[in-house]
Symmetry: C2
Subunit: 416 residues, 2 copies
């Protein structure tokens, strides 16, 4: 069995050892021993739970910086969609491999994803060793005559999805209420529930979506999804900005997983997430990067800083969203939402661990580690990344990085 | 004479060479030659103007993470001021040395500073080779009987300030209108003007300052400063959030240098800088980090991202504050404000240059360099930093880094 022994690392304010056996953390404490274990020197490092990124579109790395500072519809119609229309599975494969490099280098080992060419993303994630909840995008542009084709595609991907090992999980991702017809939404949710798949959807992202839904259905987006039976604790809802009082009750009742993407929301001027309203109701929030073309990186350190500062300025109170609370939004909150024994480094949990370099200038002095992580640190403080008991990066080295970068550049050049 | 030849670097979209002689860029172009020059390989790198940080308190590195997520007055009174009261010149010296490490590593070579123990900051900046406009803090807590003592101190620092070489410049920094009496403000401005010194002041940072000023003087902070003769093109005004229509006219009329610190303003909930109002009037804006305890780092890449996103969400329009415009706020805008031939890499300008590593993942692909710099990059993309023709960092190595970190930790430990 695969064994890793991390010696003399800072964990929960104490220098100690961590033993990993198989994919689990089996012991923490002083002077641990293990035969035939790979030894990692934890000196001047702290062990922390690896990050989980709960809403992204990994292969959009291809479009980083391709179009910015534009209104949503011209941005999509004139820039993003034409390139996406040309993308092949091979392009998405290299885009996702490259995204995995960036995620691993910034301490992220789980991507809750939604994109095109499902197998391209799945194969990349599997090879790179990260966890991916890989959303098969369902989108009929409100034309439900396309449903039979979608059904056939979903059946096919469901069969094939069994071949990717334990870290790649299929989910179904109806894009949004304004791009998926009611009939297709309902069928997708039913299929997901009959097959034990999660649902991943953009909800209440823009005021336009909110107003149009009220005009069309006399209901808010959340109310509409409730009425047609989509809401449930298997739903991961991204953005969730435009909510009424009643909507918050529905979120709480159905135990939705709420994902906040502050950088994307600010960059696209989508609106201000009501962080305090969620806090007031004890609704846990996950913080995520969204895709690279509306961010433009996958660094959850930076995202946490935005998540901590936006509610302060919006609420006019610097005490809102303190660092220790925000730190949970990328660690324990997503782990709990997904039902994974993770989000903290302790015996019995999955071995999803990062080691951060306490000699990194941004982590000095160390008055308060979670403050340093949220307000000061960047990706470059991560030295080692471990997912499911496997070392994906050690001392910032990832195998095959150069090959991935070369191929990624090749596909980008051909596409744009 | 000191000569540096940077070979084969990306500059203005073309691979070319850059010749530095003394403290100036003397040539750019193909196949440059120079005898006895230090050669720097620019392969896979881009040459850019180094950043200028127009408002900071360098030695506050000591207080990074010491107190966060608190209301302004308890934060200052219970946390920041008690530690600052104990600081010696030696503490400030090591705090500033450490700040210089962080600045140089993130591509910044000029700090417009304001802090205590002037000689501690000056000595550190001089040794590290960065430019510092070192503000001597003037503060009488509205008690003008302290003026004679301040006058004596200012005379003394003015004499001694001549000893620090061309990169360290004395400025006078009356802290703010709510901490400096009118008599002391007026004397300070007169002294500065009689001695060719700039003025550096916090202005219109909080609503409280704005309302109290109106109550006391029947004027806005800007109007009050205008009335007592403080405003002029030698004034660097930090924050500048709470302004009336008339105030913008005064800013324009007096050609004030306006410094925006978005992270600090968000973290302390000070208010939203009216970016569009400045743009509309063609008032150039500089973007800066403020001190480390209200940020909590000195990374101008990150600061630019906040500066680009805050106006978008505040104005409800993603077209506001595009990347290329924001990029100027840390380069050409501060250079022009200070009257320095800098802010662009071209012959005749000061040799204040950074080389960024185009193999850094956050700079790939390279659809748009200024977008990558503003929205994606962090400090770790800077490989080489040059100030006034002197290499301060090469391949991320700065001489004496370990010694500085060790001493910095020692003084922090003794203080907190």
């Amino acid at each position: 069995m695969n064994k890793i022994l991390i010696k003399g690392v800072l964990l929960d304010s104490v220098i100690q050892d961590i033993l990993i056996e198989g994919n689990l953390i089996t012991q923490t404490g002083s002077n641990l021993r293990a035969e035939n274990a790979k030894i990692i020197d934890g000196g001047n490092k702290a062990a922390l739970p690896a990050f989980y990124n709960m809403h992204t579109h990994s292969a959009m790395e291809i479009l980083r910086g391709y179009a910015d500072d534009m209104a949503l519809m011209p941005w999509l119609q004139d820039k993003i969609w034409p390139v996406e229309g040309k993308m092949t599975e091979e392009d998405v494969y290299w885009g996702t491999k490259f995204a995995c490099l960036e995620m691993i280098k910034s301490g992220t080992v789980l991507a809750n994803d939604m994109y095109w060419h499902w197998h391209g993303e799945a194969r990349a994630a599997q090879e790179m060793g990260i966890r991916m909840i890989n959303g098969f995008t369902v989108l009929d542009l409100l034309d439900d005559s396309r449903l039979p084709q979608i059904q056939a595609e979903v059946e096919k991907v469901y069969e094939a999805s069994q071949n990717y090992g334990e870290l790649v999980e299929l989910s179904l991702a109806p894009h949004a209420i304004y791009t998926v017809s009611e009939k297709t939404l309902i069928w997708t949710a039913d299929y997901a529930r009959n097959h034990g798949l999660r649902l991943h959807i953009h909800v209440a992202e823009t005021e336009h979506e909110f107003l149009e839904c009220q005009k069309k259905h006399g209901l808010t987006p959340i109310e509409y999804l409730d009425k047609i039976g989509i809401l449930g604790e298997d739903v991961i809802a991204a953005h969730m900005i435009w909510l009424s009082e009643h909507d918050f009750e529905l979120v709480k009742k159905h135990n939705l997983t709420v994902v906040h993407c502050p950088v994307s929301n600010m960059k696209l001027s989508s609106g201000i997430f009501k962080y305090q309203e969620y806090q007031k109701r004890d609704i846990p929030v996950c913080v995520a990067t969204d895709g690279c073309s509306s961010n433009n990186n996958l660094d959850l350190f930076e995202e946490m800083k935005f998540a901590a500062l936006l509610p302060k300025i919006a609420g006019g109170n610097p005490e809102i969203a303190p660092a220790a609370e925000i730190y949970k939004t990328t660690t324990i909150n997503p782990a709990r939402a997904l039902g994974l024994a993770a989000g903290e480094v302790k015996a019995g949990n999955l071995a999803d661990i990062i080691l951060i370099d306490l000699e990194n200038l941004n982590l000095i002095p160390q008055h308060n580690l979670s403050s340093n992580l949220v307000y000061s640190a960047h990706a470059d403080c991560v030295s080692t990344t471990i997912c499911n008991g496997k070392v994906l990066m050690e001392e910032r080295k990832i195998p095959d990085e150069k090959v991935i970068v070369r191929n990624f550049r090749r596909v980008v050049q051909a596409l744009t």
